[in-house]
C-alpha cells in the first residue's frame, strides 16, 4: 500500500468513527463532554489527593521511623490482593 492508500483507509475509518458516535462533524468542543463514557473506563479518584504535597512552615513531633529498609516486608493491602498470581508477600529479602 502506498501512503495515499493508507491515508484514505485511515480517513475512511475516522469518518465511520464520527458516524458511529452519531456526530455530524465538526462538533463543538463542549459536545465532547460525555465522550469518555463511550471510550475506555473512567476511574473516579479523590480530587483533593491529586494536589500532592504542600509546603509547610511547621515542624513535627512525629518521630522518624528508624529501621532497616532491606529487611522490611510489604504488609499493606498487597497481602490480600491476588494480582495475576502475585498473591500476598513473598520471602523477605536476605540482608
Amino acid at each position: 500500500m502506498n501512503r495515499q492508500t493508507i491515508a484514505l483507509a485511515l480517513a475512511g475509518s475516522l469518518a465511520s468513527a464520527f458516524a458511529t458516535v452519531a456526530f455530524a462533524a465538526p462538533l463543538p468542543a463542549e459536545k465532547m463532554v460525555g465522550m469518555e463514557k463511550c471510550y475506555g473506563i473512567a476511574l473516579k479518584g479523590q480530587n483533593d489527593c491529586a494536589a500532592g504535597a504542600g509546603t509547610t512552615c511547621a515542624g513535627t513531633s512525629t518521630m522518624d521511623y528508624q529501621g532497616n529498609a532491606w529487611k522490611a516486608v510489604p504488609a499493606g493491602t498487597c497481602t490480600t490482593m491476588d494480582v495475576n498470581g502475585h498473591k500476598g508477600m513473598l520471602e523477605p529479602m536476605k540482608g
Partner: protein, 293 residues
C-alpha cells in the same frame, strides 16, 4: 530599580486563616467573614490547573497574604533566581496585600531540605541576610515582611541578639517584620528566655503581620521543656495571653491563624480567628488609631 513604597502591610487589621484546598468548597459556599487568607507561595508555583483557579477566586473575594517558605534567605548560597522569578509572577498575577518570608535557610548544595533551619547571628550573616532581603524586594517589586523563627538550638558563634538582628535587617533594607507570637513562645521556652521581655523589646512599629499557631511539647536530653512549632492544634493559652500583650503594644495588626498539620474542618479555624478578632476589636476600641506610622 525602585520598588513600590509600600507600608508594612495592606492587610486589614483583622484575623485571617491559612487557606487549605480542602476548605475551598466550604469557603465559596458560605462566604465566611474572614479578614484575609494566607497561602504558601510554593504551592501555587505550578503552571496551571485548580490551584490557580482557587487562588484567583479567593483573591477576588478576600485580602491575600503570600507567605514564602522556600526562598532560603538565611543561606550562604545566592538566592535562586528562578524562584525569585516565580515569586514575581505570583505577585504580579494575584497582587497580594502582603508578602512575607522567614529568617531561616532551607537550601544547600545537597538540595532543598524542607525545614526552616536556624542560622548564627553574626555581622557576616547580618550583611548577607540584608543583601538577600534587598535582592528579594528588588526582584519582586514589593516590600517583604521578615518573620522571626522558632529555634531548638543556639550557635556558639552568635554575637548579635535576635531582635537586634531583625531590627538591623529592617533598618538596612526597609523591609517590615512578621511577628510570630507562637515562635516567640517556642524559642523563649527552648532557650530559657522571658517571652514577655522579647515582645516588649520588639520593634513593633515595623510589624506588618502577626502569626499565631499551636505548639507541641516534649523534653530535651537534659529533661528541660522543649517546644516544637507544630501548627497542629489550637493556639495554646499561654501564647494567646502573650498575643493579647502583643496587640496591646502593636495595636491592631493583621493576625494569622496557622494550622498546617492535622488540619481540622474550616469551622475550627474560623472559631480561632474569631477569638483573635475579638482581641483586635477590643484594642481598636481602646485606641482607635494604629500606633504605627
Amino acid at each position: 530599580m525602585p520598588y513600590e513604597p509600600l507600608h508594612a502591610s495592606r492587610l486589614p487589621p483583622r484575623a485571617g486563616v491559612g487557606f487549605k484546598s480542602e476548605h475551598y468548597a466550604d469557603i465559596m459556599e458560605t462566604a465566611p467573614d474572614i479578614g484575609f487568607f494566607e497561602v504558601h507561595a510554593e504551592n501555587y508555583m505550578g503552571e496551571g490547573g485548580m490551584p490557580h483557579r482557587m487562588l484567583a477566586e479567593l483573591s477576588a473575594r478576600y485580602a491575600l497574604s503570600l507567605h514564602g517558605v522556600g526562598l532560603s534567605i538565611g543561606a550562604t548560597r545566592p538566592l535562586d533566581k528562578a524562584h525569585l522569578a516565580r515569586l514575581r509572577r505570583l505577585i504580579d498575577r494575584y497582587k497580594p496585600q502582603s508578602f512575607s518570608e522567614h529568617l531561616a535557610w532551607s537550601t544547600h548544595d545537597t538540595g532543598f531540605l524542607n525545614d526552616l533551619l536556624p542560622l548564627p547571628y553574626t555581622p557576616e550573616t547580618l550583611a548577607r541576610v540584608a543583601d538577600h532581603v534587598d535582592e528579594v524586594q528588588q526582584a519582586t517589586g514589593r516590600q517583604l515582611l521578615l518573620e522571626n523563627p522558632s529555634t531548638y538550638v543556639l550557635f556558639e558563634e552568635s554575637s548579635i541578639d535576635e531582635i537586634e538582628f531583625l531590627d538591623a535587617v529592617a533598618e538596612r533594607t526597609g523591609c517590615g517584620l512578621l511577628l510570630d507570637v507562637n515562635n516567640v513562645m517556642v524559642s523563649a521556652v527552648n532557650h530559657g528566655l522571658d517571652p514577655l521581655a522579647y515582645i516588649d523589646r520588639f520593634p513593633v512599629a515595623r510589624v506588618g503581620e502577626i502569626h499565631l499557631a499551636g505548639y507541641d511539647e516534649t523534653v530535651d536530653g537534659a529533661g528541660d521543656r522543649l517546644l516544637i512549632d507544630a501548627h497542629g492544634s489550637r493556639v495554646r493559652e499561654d501564647v494567646f495571653a502573650l498575643y493579647r500583650h502583643t496587640v496591646g503594644r502593636c495595636g491592631p495588626v493583621a493576625t494569622l491563624i496557622e494550622w498546617d498539620n492535622d488540619v481540622p474542618g474550616f469551622a475550627v479555624l474560623y472559631d480561632e480567628a474569631r477569638r483573635a478578632d475579638d482581641v483586635l476589636a477590643e484594642e481598636a476600641a481602646r485606641h482607635p488609631l494604629p500606633r504605627r506610622a
